[in-house]
Amino acid sequence: MRRFLSLGLLCLMLLGTAVSAQAQSSSSTPDDQAALALLTALDVDSYRDKGEAITAILQSDDERARDWLQALLDGRLQRTDDGRFVLVLDNRGRDWPVADALTNEPLGEMSRRDLDRIGINNALRNQLRSAIAVVDLYSPNVERRRTSADRLLGEVDGELAETLEPVIADAEDEYVRTRLAQAVAIYRAEQGEMAGVEALTGSLHPRARVALGRAANSDDPVVAEAAATALAGIEQQLKINRGLETLYFGLSLGSVLVLAAIGLAITFGVMGVINMAHGELMMLGAYTTWMMQQLLPGQPGLALILSIPAGFMVAALVGIAIERGVIQFLKGRPLETLLATFGISLILQQLVRTVISPLNRTVVTPEWMSGSLVINDALSLTLNRMFVLGFALVVFAALMLIMRRTRLGLEVRAVTQNRAMARSMGIRATRVDIMTFALGSGVAGLAGVALSQLTNVGPNLGQNYIIDSFMVVVFGGVGNLWGTLVAGLSLGVINQVLEPWAGAVLAKIIVLVFIILFIQKRPRGLFPQKGRAAEG
């Protein structure tokens, strides 16, 4: 109740005295007639009169007011030839579905020729936006109140500022309160008022910066200086936020690299096998996700979760097939293995092109993974990247556990360090090879599932990552999972740091050249295996 009272008060202040007559009429006649009168008042030539009619609607307390104003703003409030007012529901095409503006009853489709739009100009448009925002400030829905407060930033003029100030104090929601205070402060700062400048200090919103920029040119030297100081402080803040954003993007890219490389690190580290088809195993993981979503339409989230084990299994099985079918015959010939697996990668790519499609497929991002986490006006972190980062860390931790705590891990480490010795101690090296290869391939599948949330899924998906993943493995030091993690994340960050001033392509070139040079300096990578085993 209090809210409606405030609204009435607010409208009164907004309008001054101009509309008292209509206000009276609205209270003394039945609803629909009053409403019709309000709308008819809009249907005049003079924009000035239209402005007054808008104010009247605002003040009317009519529940339909917001719809009318919104429709008017969008150009969807129209008059039929026979003098009725309708809301156009969809103004694409030739015939438009419409509804009665008063009763909201659908009236079927009408030809655009039978309708007459109620025109507005820019001044009215601004008035309408503010008016809608003000109406929304009293919406029972807190989200709507917040959105409207956001919308008012930079839209406040003298009168509105006056009227908003008491509302600020009344606002229940903390967010709405700060936003409205900011909106008013922006107006004040633009007017060169000290209070506004002070209130805006530390605000990261772009409109606040514009306002402070204007205040910095103020005639009053005190205000100008204060504004300049505030601006400098904000710039500093923004720089930090930009840095954090770069770091986030870098870590995100890095997590993708880690996911792509870590399976490779296992197969390369343990078996000394270069699997050029590793990228295609990732691609298969990504397609598994797509397939799952096709099988479970309407449930992208469930499909994605099921894709994690499914992607792992598909890639692992293909990996085992590759190991048994080709690699086992090329023992001790790493260069030939490289060529043969490259051939497999070509076949897998072409297979997907032929069987599914050469075109990219889109994998749906489930509701709970889309959107972003807003830290402040200058920094928001996209959720899907955050999930992938978390996923990469979980996969890494799981692999660490497998390597450190399980029998397989022990055997794998034994075979890595000394194959002949491990075999003589009764470890079945062939079985270890198969298991390792399956594990490494399965992890590639997981990487593909994660990648499907960040990029389009297409036959070339794997190709784009293979060289990068090799660079990560070599940079980190072969056979060292920690090395892969550090190398992947740092290469991701380096790439993102370079990008703003070098451009994406040049940044990539610089990173590649850096690694090529780094390998010359430290042929065994960041974290080389030490001791006698590494000597041979």
Partner: protein
């Protein structure tokens, strides 16, 4: 594979004494002569007539064959699997392309007297410094060898000094050509970006679109292949060639008997890069375009397949492999383009698993079988 001990001959003429080289050169020159005769002397429309398009195609195969010989020199004899030889090929090609661009002069679409069309299009007002000199044929032809050679020298120096070999070297050579591809795709590099260099008109005053020039280029490529083959053969039959084989099989041991392995690797790597550059320079005027796709890692690794299919460490095997694969590619992409990548992929697997010595190994095997079937008379007696 058996090697002959160093003979007392001069190293460059040594290959001429070999049966295999004589056969190779004989077959090559016979083929050149045959194609020339069938092209010139047999009238058009006759089933045996070889048209200009086919001559051009054969010329392309021969330049690929020279490239394959260069790769076999480092992979077959030195054990260095370079997955970046396409880069040297492309750089040689670009050097030639730059010369051909400058030859266009003011006949380009925009009619600028000096600047190539793409530079006018990008609103550049002067030539970048590295484009100077390419209007002179001798300079451009020198660059065809020197530019890839210099890149190989710097890259190889760094890599071999740090004893980066085996799969590590393969990976970083691949990264090298990938980085170069990305770089050449950029317009700012001044090599025509995506589109590369094209619309060439003449080479040393000969119109590139005339049939006579195409035949000339075909023959020139054949001669270059012969010379490149002889040079490589001379290297591998010298004592240095055996140091290479020794390095390939037991690098540490070679070092212990006093050879500076990294210098030998560098020397052969640079020679090979220069030959690849020469192959690229002969390729470009025949196909009429050079663009960054020649730097793609796929192309470089395909070259290795030619060598593997033909048979490593034979040199003539590389030639056979290059021609076979590219002929198959021409046929396949003509009748069923989708199947080509399947065929190529399968070839990679089959050659490495089932035919490790390639076609050359198969030929050798058949030859031995034949000798076994017909034992010499005195043995039977």
């Amino acid at each position: 594979m058996m090697t002959q001990a160093t003979s007392s001959q001069f190293w460059l003429t040594r290959p001429f004494g070999e049966r295999a080289t004589q056969t190779f050169l004989g077959v090559l020159f016979a083929a050149l002569l045959l194609v020339t005769v069938l092209h010139l002397a047999v009238p058009q429309g006759h089933p045996l007539h070889v048209n200009a398009y086919t001559v051009n195609l054969f010329g392309k195969y021969l330049s690929y064959a020279l490239l394959a010989v260069a790769v076999d020199l480092v992979w077959g004899y030195l054990g260095i699997l370079s997955l970046g030889h396409g880069a040297f090929f492309a750089i040689g090609g670009y050097a030639m392309g730059m010369y051909l661009m400058r030859q266009i002069g003011d006949r380009g679409t925009y009619g600028h007297p000096v600047l190539p069309d793409f530079m006018v299009f990008l609103n550049w007002d002067s030539l970048p410094w590295y484009w100077h000199g390419f209007d002179m044929a001798w300079f451009a032809f020198a660059m065809v060898l020197l530019a890839p050679g210099l890149l190989a020298l710097v890259f190889g120096f760094l890599a071999f000094r740090s004893r980066v070999t085996g799969v590590y070297l393969s990976i970083i050579t691949q990264a090298l050509t990938f980085a170069l591809m990305l770089a050449f795709f950029r317009n700012e590099m001044g090599f025509g970006g995506n589109n590369g260099l094209t619309d060439f008109r003449e080479l040393l005053g000969f119109n590139l679109r005339s049939d006579a020039t195409r035949l000339g280029l075909f023959i020139a490529t054949g001669v270059a292949l012969a010379l490149g083959y002889i040079l490589c053969r001379a290297i591998v039959t010298s004592k240095l060639g055996r140091v290479c084989v020794a390095t390939r099989d037991a690098e540490a041991r070679t070092r212990f008997i006093g050879y500076r392995v990294e210098r030998f690797q560098l020397f052969v790597f640079v020679v090979s890069a220069m030959l690849a550059g020469l192959a690229g320079a002969l390729y470009v005027p025949q196909v009429g375009i050079i663009n960054p796709s020649e730097f793609s890692p796929l192309f470089s690794i395909e070259i290795v397949l030619w060598v593997a299919l033909g048979g490593r460490a034979t040199l003539y095997g590389a030639v056979i492999g290059a021609i076979l694969v590219n002929y198959a590619k021409t046929i396949f992409t003509g009748i069923m383009p989708d199947a080509w990548l399947f065929a190529l992929g399968a070839l990679f697997v089959l050659v490495t698993v089932l035919l490790p010595k390639g076609v050359a190994g198969l030929l050798g095997h058949l030859k031995r079988r034949k000798e076994d079937d017909h034992p010499p008379k005195e043995a039977a007696a």
